[in-house]
């Protein structure tokens, strides 16, 4: 297992590359998702207020 | 009363070019600013890199070209904004030239009043940077062929940021990536001359980039100006 992790001596580069890519893409995924749900809540609230107005 | 005498577009076009050149050289204008910037920025390099003549000679073409790019952008952000702010852009839109004619005239005026003097001032800076003797001709030639592209692509940036306060800084971000081909072929031509190879293919490619910039630059500027006037 350790031999696999060592990546023929290039462990630092390979795992950093994969780690960075994964974390950047996951962060984008999560932040987009969170903003979307927040905006859905905001739209529903605004619609409710509009119904209340007229 | 309403009979339209024939309007000579030529004289309208050249009176706009003439007006812009006069404005550029008048005290509030941009061209003296750009030429001043060109001189000061280039002469900073020896302070940074050291005075050894061989080193300076090696980097001279690149430095002169890069600073020429930056100086043209420095003078470009007021290309349309000045007219936009005092209302004359609306008047120009109603001129018989139409927006394409107006953009062409203003780019020609900017090229003549600002970027052309940069090309003509380059040899003086070549001396400062100990440019090899055989490189002066190709340097001015490459700048003459390349500078229209600077004004044309710069005009797109100016038209896009006409309604943006402090659009000048944004202009650098928008335009400099688009200057890369002109920079590469321009410096390539001068380097070729320095290393005794034929600069012609580089100049040809530079000319091609400028021609493309003509089409892309003018039509994009007109689209951006119409958008800003809405």
């Amino acid at each position: 297992m350790t031999e696999f992790l060592d990546m023929g001596g290039y462990a630092a580069f390979v795992w950093t590359a994969y780690g960075l890519s994964a974390s950047a893409l996951v962060w984008l995924l999560v932040s987009s998702r969170r903003k979307l749900t927040a905006s859905v809540v905001a739209v529903d609230a605004a619609r409710a207020r509009r119904k209340g107005d007229n | 009363m309403s009979s339209m005498q024939t309007v000579s577009h030529g004289s309208v076009f050249f009176s706009l070019v003439n007006r812009d050149i006069k404005l550029a050289w008048s005290q509030g204008g941009g061209s003296l600013l750009a030429i001043g910037f060109f001189f000061i920025a280039v002469s900073l390099f020896p302070f940074g890199i050291g005075p050894e003549p061989q080193v300076l000679a090696r980097i001279a073409p690149g430095v002169i070209w890069v600073v020429a790019l930056l100086s043209s952008v420095v003078s470009l952000d007021r290309l349309y904004q000045a007219d936009y702010e005092d209302g004359s852009l609306d008047d120009l839109a109603l001129s018989p030239l139409g927006m394409l004619g107006v953009a062409t005239a203003k780019v020609l005026a900017h090229w003549f009043s600002t970027t052309l003097p940069l090309a003509l001032a380059a040899p003086a800076l070549g001396i400062l940077l100990n440019l090899p003797d055989n490189a002066y001709g190709p340097l001015v030639a490459s700048l003459l062929i390349g500078t229209p592209a600077l004004s044309l692509i710069g005009s797109v940036g100016a038209a896009l940021t006409v309604a943006v306060r402090r659009g000048g800084v944004l202009m650098f971000l928008l335009i400099l990536p688009l200057y890369v081909p002109t920079l590469i072929f321009g410096v390539g031509a001068v380097d070729a001359a320095v290393t005794m190879t034929d600069p012609l293919p580089h100049l040809a490619l530079l000319g091609a980039t400028t021609l493309i910039a003509f089409v892309v630059g003018l039509f994009a500027s007109v689209a951006a100006l119409n958008l800003a006037m809405e």
């Binding site: 509009r50 | 940021t161 944004l170 800003a228």
Partner: protein, 248 residues
Amino acid sequence: MHRFANPAQFNRLADVVLPWAIGLTVLLSVAGLYYALFSSPPDYQQGESVRVMYVHVPAAWMGMFVYMVMAAASFTALVWRHPLALLAGKAAAPIGAIFTALALITGMLWGKPMWGTYWVWDGRLTSVLVQFFLYLGYMALWQAMEDEEKAGRAASILALVGVVNIPIIKFSVDWWSTLHQPASVMRLDGPTIDGAMLVPLFLMAAAYQAYFVVVFLWRMKLEINNRKLSVMRQASLQNTETQMEVAG
């Protein structure tokens, strides 16, 4: 408003596509990673470090692909004044920018073991760098003006100017890098790609593609909601104004 311009219709379509896209993304990612890390052979010269290619090349491809999507959306938005296409550009840009940034970073991480330096002015890597600036310019223009509609259309014009210039930039950078290229530097993707390496490469590329569809659709729905919010705020502003007049 022609067929696709209606946000409700777009949302319905997105809701149909999304589950499939999410499933595909997960599936392809797992398969891609398995092949990339486990079952593909090391390169006879670069050894294990070639595995970085499986995250580098797809990211560079996606950086280019998303810019094309942005350019197509910008064209539609400008020519047919299509509000959804305008939002599509805004939704896609950050994803493309992150893909391009990842391509640059993984490119450096791949270059270090091979050439001993993180940054090599290799033709392809440099074009990716210039493209990254084009993304920054596009996104900066969106925020530059108060009127979002105008800012969007200005950015769309920039995207079209950019897409016309990309091949020229690519050509000039490649031309420039061959001019200054010391003969010994190996090209970034190695002399030949061994057949077994193609499988993980395309799997990862497909995973990135599916990932893009998911995040793009989410961000589109987000932009549509933001637009709805600002429209409703504007509408309620006008309502209170008319009510005050009526009352006043």
